[in-house]
């Protein structure tokens, strides 16, 4: 009887052993707060920033950036050459690069991924990112049906030749964006057609990826767990064993999760908490510059917002300084243009300033003296961060300065995205974080019919200027064209810039290799945990 018991006890102990080693392993797991449950994990269908975080861990483009200096470094491509006119890029794919199922990564996978992203029926909002490739725009719009005419060719398994429509000086640094990520043809087509928006290939267990980590668990609203991809070409230098992303309902939960040690860092601290951390735990608080603009979009298809004078009046009646100082506790700086200042040497000359007198004049000119006859305007925002407090402050400013009645409407992230895309709003809170360091990234959002336009706004002169800037080789003249385009944008005001972001992070001292840079780029390859190093 006693021996039987001993055996049982021993067996029980033995069964806990693997669990123990698993426990040790998990100590080398980085735990991250994701701002929301991702809308999807398909690199060619998502548009959000949280999704960017997740996908960068699972996929890798041709290049990566240095976490500290933001210099372009080899990614899936080990080297590249550029033709003298800046139009033809030839990439050599790293021969060691493999997919997470062990299949070698080839130039064809990139061509396939881009073909997929540009296919008409996939109808991706972000497909215009690829339009710098020759004929990509025509193919994307269905004017061209033969992908062979598009300037992306796999010369052989290891050589990828990309012919651009215009010299895009940001082409290499753009490759970190998910819209350029490759996908594995056999993986996509095992779960549906190339342009199937509802394919199940991104489910855990289905997805094959080429990044430093691979998806092992996706439990919606609970956890997304990625583990080290042993087939990754640089796997030896990946220090973490796994990353766990916890989608958070709101920033309050994020802050509490950080406090309780559930996550190692959070990227957005609620503004109301800043003062407390400044006083009590300055060592974990980091307020850093961030190339991103917080702005309101106006629905230009809905009266009275179809009148540029009304939009401009509203945009001018926002006291940005007060929002930055009081509502955001100094963790933001007033934005007077769409592009953040000093973006790759570009600072917009045109501005929308806070000017109540002029705002009133514009509103009166539009036929609404002192706001009379103007219907109530609704501000839509997603349910997180300080959006509600900002909306209430702006509600107060518009009421006080222009006598305009304002209602507010709060929606969950995915619903909010749908409403915005369907132009089902009056005014919607928006933000744009630079995908790559060039003002073009901001300006091309608002061309007619652009996937990220989302305002219904259309201006021929603006489209022309952006188009000219695309093809412009001379950097000075190129910026001049963008300046003119931005002046039109601010004059017609389909948007109202509010503030330039600052990163508001809480980072546990345990996290190492996390150099904060102004585009908020994270390369999880370089991360490690203090507790995990022997």
């Amino acid at each position: 009887m006693r021996t039987a018991l001993t055996i049982l006890v021993l067996a029980a102990l033995a069964s806990t052993l693997p669990a123990c080693s698993g426990g040790e392993k998990s100590s080398n797991t980085l735990r991250v707060a994701a701002d929301t449950e991702p809308a999807a994990l398909d690199p060619h269908l998502v548009t959000g920033f949280t999704e960017h975080r997740l996908l960068t861990s699972m996929f890798e483009g041709l290049t990566t950036l240095n976490q500290k200096t933001l210099a372009v470094e080899p990614g899936a491509a080990e080297s590249w050459t550029v033709s003298d006119d800046g139009l033809v890029y030839t990439f050599k794919i790293n021969p060691k690069a493999k997919w997470s199922d062990g299949t070698p990564l080839t130039a064809k996978d990139f061509v396939y991924g881009w073909r997929r992203h540009l296919s008409l029926n996939l109808a991706s909002e972000y497909s215009y990112m690829l339009w710098c490739i020759k004929n990509a725009e025509a193919y994307n719009k269905g004017q061209l049906t033969d992908f062979d005419e598009v300037g992306a060719k796999a010369l052989d398994d290891a050589t990828l030749e990309v012919t651009l429509a215009y010299p895009a000086p940001y082409f290499l640094s753009m490759q970190i964006h998910y819209s350029w990520f490759p996908v594995l043809q056999s993986n996509i087509e095992a779960f549906g057609k190339i342009d199937d928006r509802n394919s199940k290939w991104t489910r855990a267990g289905n997805m094959v990826s080429n990044g430093p980590f691979k998806l092992v668990e996706w439990n919606p609203n609970q956890i997304i767990r990625v583990e080290r991809n042993e087939h990754y070409w640089d796997a030896a230098n990946v220090k973490l064993d796994a990353i766990e992303f916890y989608p958070m309902q709101n920033l309050l939960t994020e802050e509490r999760s950080f406090q309780s040690g559930k996550v190692h860092f959070i990227e957005t601290l609620l503004a109301t908490k800043i003062e407390t951390y400044r006083k009590e735990k300055p060592e974990v608080l980091r307020i850093e510059p961030f190339i991103g603009t917080y702005f309101y979009r106006f629905n230009t298809t809905r009266p009275p917002l179809d009148d540029p004078r009304v939009r401009r009046a509203l945009a001018m009646a926002i006291d940005r300084q007060s929002i930055c100082d009081s509502v955001m506790y100094g963790a933001a700086s007033p934005a007077v243009a769409l592009t953040p200042p000093e973006l790759a040497g570009y600072t917009a000359k045109a501005r929308i300033d806070f000017n109540v007198e002029e705002a009133r004049r514009f509103l009166a000119e539009a036929g609404y003296p002192n706001g009379q006859g103007l219907r109530p305007i609704e501000i839509l925002f997603n349910d997180s961060e300080d959006h509600e407090r900002i909306a209430e402050a702006i509600q107060d400013m518009w009421k006080l300065n222009l006598n305009v009645e304002v209602t507010t409407n709060k929606q969950e992230w995915k619903v909010y995205l749908n409403t915005m895309n369907a132009l089902g709003y009056d005014v919607v809170r928006s933000a744009w974080i630079a995908d790559y360091l060039d003002p073009m990234n901001y300006m091309e959002c608002f061309v007619t019919g652009g996937g990220n336009n989302r305002t219904g706004w259309s201006s021929k002169p603006y489209d022309d200027l952006v188009e000219q800037a695309r093809y412009c080789v001379d950097p000075v003249q190129r910026y001049e064209l963008l300046q003119q385009a931005e002046a039109i944008l601010l004059e017609e005001a389909p948007i109202a810039p509010i503030y330039t972001y600052k990163q508001k992070l809480l980072v546990s001292p345990e996290v190492q290799g996390y150099d904060i840079n102004p585009i908020g780029y994270l390369n999880y390859r370089s991360f490690s945990l203090a507790s995990a190093t022997p």
């Binding site: 309050l252 609620l270 109301t272 908490k273 003062e275 407390t276 007060s322 100082d325 009081s326 509502v327 349910d383 509600e388 407090r389 909306a391 209430e392 402050a393 509600q395 107060d396 009421k399 209602t407 507010t408 409407n409 709060k410």
Partner: protein, 294 residues
């Protein structure tokens, strides 16, 4: 048996039921406290906002969240709005939702229950099964769907909450009516040829009044809690107007930094809920017919 020998006493007893109830209620200190507190609260939210020098929506962003002081008794919120004034205005909404939604549930529940109990037989069975089915629906989900579907108007919020709150009332009234229906005075009324409508409205409902009143006082706090909950989820009243639920929600977000934003609205809501519950308990005891024999 003794009562039949002294018919005069029976008559007197009948008229003094309400007096007895009132006497018993006055002896219940908690119930009296509840009544006084409630009266004070109602007076405050009606008159208070006119007396306050601040408006519920005026922001003083430069001031921001300030601790309670002589100029702002309950402090200010993060946008510099006077919390005392906002609590008074929020109280108007919360109390209005409480009373209006209860009135809706009272009307539907009492009529439905009385008709079902009076009809008996198959009609009664069908009507009560409908109530059973509605009972099984997750009540919060219904309210959320209704508010999402019908938009975010306060009136609709009253209706939505009232419309799901009537079920228990319907059951209680039906139970009363089923037992009253067999009593001689209803038979007498039927023999006299009174219409059904008149029998229900004039004879059945007044006799079931005790339990109805008691349950009503218990419904009001339940409804107010529900409004607080719906607002907490962000689906209730719209900014810059607020209710106690919204204020508590905002306060909970900043309770470490600005505790007064949570404490004062919570006190206001708790005091009101306690008062209503005390009053409800007191009324239940006071109106219990068996206590009359003491």
């Amino acid at each position: 048996m003794g009562e039949t020998k002294e018919p005069a006493h029976v008559v007197e007893h009948g008229t003094s039921l309400w007096k007895d109830a009132w006497r018993r209620l006055r002896r219940n200190h908690l119930a009296v406290f509840g009544m006084a507190m409630l009266t004070l609260m109602i007076l405050l939210v009606i008159v208070g906002p006119w007396l306050s020098p601040y408006s519920y929506e005026t922001q003083d962003r430069a001031l921001g969240a300030a601790a309670p002081s002589a100029s702002h008794w309950f402090g200010t919120d993060t946008l510099g709005r006077d919390l005392f004034t906002r609590i008074l205005y929020g109280g108007r909404i919360s109390l209005m939702v409480g009373f209006a939604a209860t009135a809706v549930s009272l009307t539907i529940g009492v009529l439905y229950g009385a008709v079902a109990g009076f009809a008996r037989g198959r009609a009664d069975a069908v009507m009560m099964r409908v109530v059973d089915i509605l009972y099984t629906m997750p009540f919060t989900v219904i309210v959320i769907i209704l508010t999402v579907y019908m938009g975010k108007s306060i009136v609709l919020l009253f209706m939505a909450i009232g419309a799901v709150e009537w079920l228990t009332m319907a059951r209680i009234v039906r139970g009363q009516v089923v037992s009253l229906r067999e009593k001689e005075f209803i038979e007498a009324a039927e023999v006299m040829g009174l219409s059904r409508r008149r029998i229900i409205l004039r004879h059945l409902i007044p006799n079931a009044l005790g339990p109805i009143i008691v349950y009503t006082t218990l419904t009001i706090p339940a409804v107010m809690l529900l409004e607080a909950f719906v607002s907490f989820l962000g689906m209730g009243v719209q900014a810059p107007m607020s209710s106690w639920g919204v204020l508590i929600h905002d306060g909970a977000n900043t309770m470490e930094e600005y505790p007064w934003m949570l404490i004062f609205p919570s006190i206001a809501l708790s005091l009101t809920l306690f008062s209503l519950n005390f009053l409800g308990d007191g009324l239940r005891d006071a109106l219990d017919p068996r206590m009359a024999k003491e």
